[in-house]
Symmetry: C2
Subunit: 206 residues, 2 copies
DNA sequence: GAACGCTTCAAACAGGCGTTCGAATGTTAG
DNA sequence: CTAACATTCGAACGCCTGTTTGAAGCGTTC
């Protein structure tokens, strides 16, 4: 399961991602993680200091990547002459989708994100919103500009619905919904198309 | 916090609901639960058999209530001459909202539902879908009838987005989004209005 | 080769976990 | 009052938790 060529630190991160996604942060123990990573138990505290810090590093690794490619995609859309709502949404979804399809185990992380959102653990929520909230604000600004008729309140609610829809839909990827005989890549593309269409219409609601 | 007039069993259920919503099923211990409920530790295993069974009973108590009132609301809508999509969505959301506003602590349960959704614990998912999936199917049928132009696939995806958006938004009720000086009841009503409008438009997307 | 820093290791730590047990207590029926 | 039952209680069970410790294994540098 875990590639032995990777460093101890990376193997711990990968195994932790998988196990936390499967059993939750409290549900998966460090012994399970280190055993899956083929690593000594004490390695976690040596490399990460504590279980809690391991969780933070885990999010940092993926979210840095995710927000970077989201920012890039958004800038690209902004550069075009007439940005459409669909294009902005695409810029938001596509990076998450390619993360989920990453061979490096990003699909577990997508489920982990959904879990983190459901948890009302203030510490984790704070960490995420502090470090990555600004990207979401950028998207909100562009979308607000594209929907000038919408009140601040309504926009706020609808953006929340959009992120909820995305989070939960993504957390199911590869679980139950994929029909047999369709490639992962194709599955994700149709997922993205459905989502963008749905979200754009919802945001444009009268 | 916990009403001492209630029976041991009920106090355990209430305390468990709160604590599990706050810390997760693995994160909250029976000692925390029984201590919050002002009840002896052994009472849980005496009344419920095990922690796992306590969790099941917890869901049963609320979901029975929720699905019953959803079914009633749907039947009412079905009885009208020209059911609108908005009315059907209202029938789906309103029972969840009044559960969340229930003085009996239903608001914790709403967050618990969001958590259960995010957990990919097969046991729990199975329990929920086995016992309450038929109500969702009823809603899906009515909505499908109202949107005849939609393919089965598209409908499936969009219903998933809708439930994701709802779950996610509801899990935040009373947390950060409520502006000061607005009553809970009013807050929930505007939430429902925003949601129905958003979801209806998304479902109707071209 | 000795000394160094970095990493791994087995073992142990104190503490919390779900569950079980037998005695004590409370409640109901004859 | 007594017998029978239901519930509560404190204590303990064995197991698992995150973390710490000190020694052992390394490759590098003097």
């Amino acid at each position: 399961m875990i590639n032995p060529h990777f460093s101890t630190k990376e193997r711990i991160l990968s195994a932790a991602e998988d196990l936390f996604a499967k059993s939750g942060f409290a549900g998966a123990s460090l012994r399970q993680v280190t055993s899956a990573a083929n690593v000594n138990l004490a390695a976690v505290n040596y490399h990460f200091g504590s279980k809690e810090n391991l969780i933070n590093e885990l999010f940092k690794r993926r979210l840095d990547e995710l927000t970077a490619s989201r920012t890039a995609a958004l800038d690209k859309v902004r550069g075009t002459r007439q940005p459409t709502l669909e294009a902005v949404l695409e810029a938001f979804v596509q990076p998450a989708l390619s993360l989920a399809s990453d061979r490096g185990g990003g699909s577990s992380f997508v489920r982990l994100l959904a879990r983190a959102f459901a948890e009302h653990d203030q510490r984790l929520r704070r960490f995420v919103s502090d470090n990555y909230g600004h990207v979401l604000k950028e998207f909100a600004k562009v979308i607000a500009h594209l929907l000038p008729h919408l009140s601040k309140d309504a926009l706020y609610w609808r953006l929340d619905f959009v992120s909820g829809a995305l989070t939960y839909a993504m957390s199911d990827f590869g679980m139950i919904k994929k029909p047999a005989g369709i490639s992962d890549e194709q599955h994700r593309r149709t997922a993205a198309e459905h989502f963008v269409r749905f979200a754009a219409a919802g945001l444009r609601a009268p």
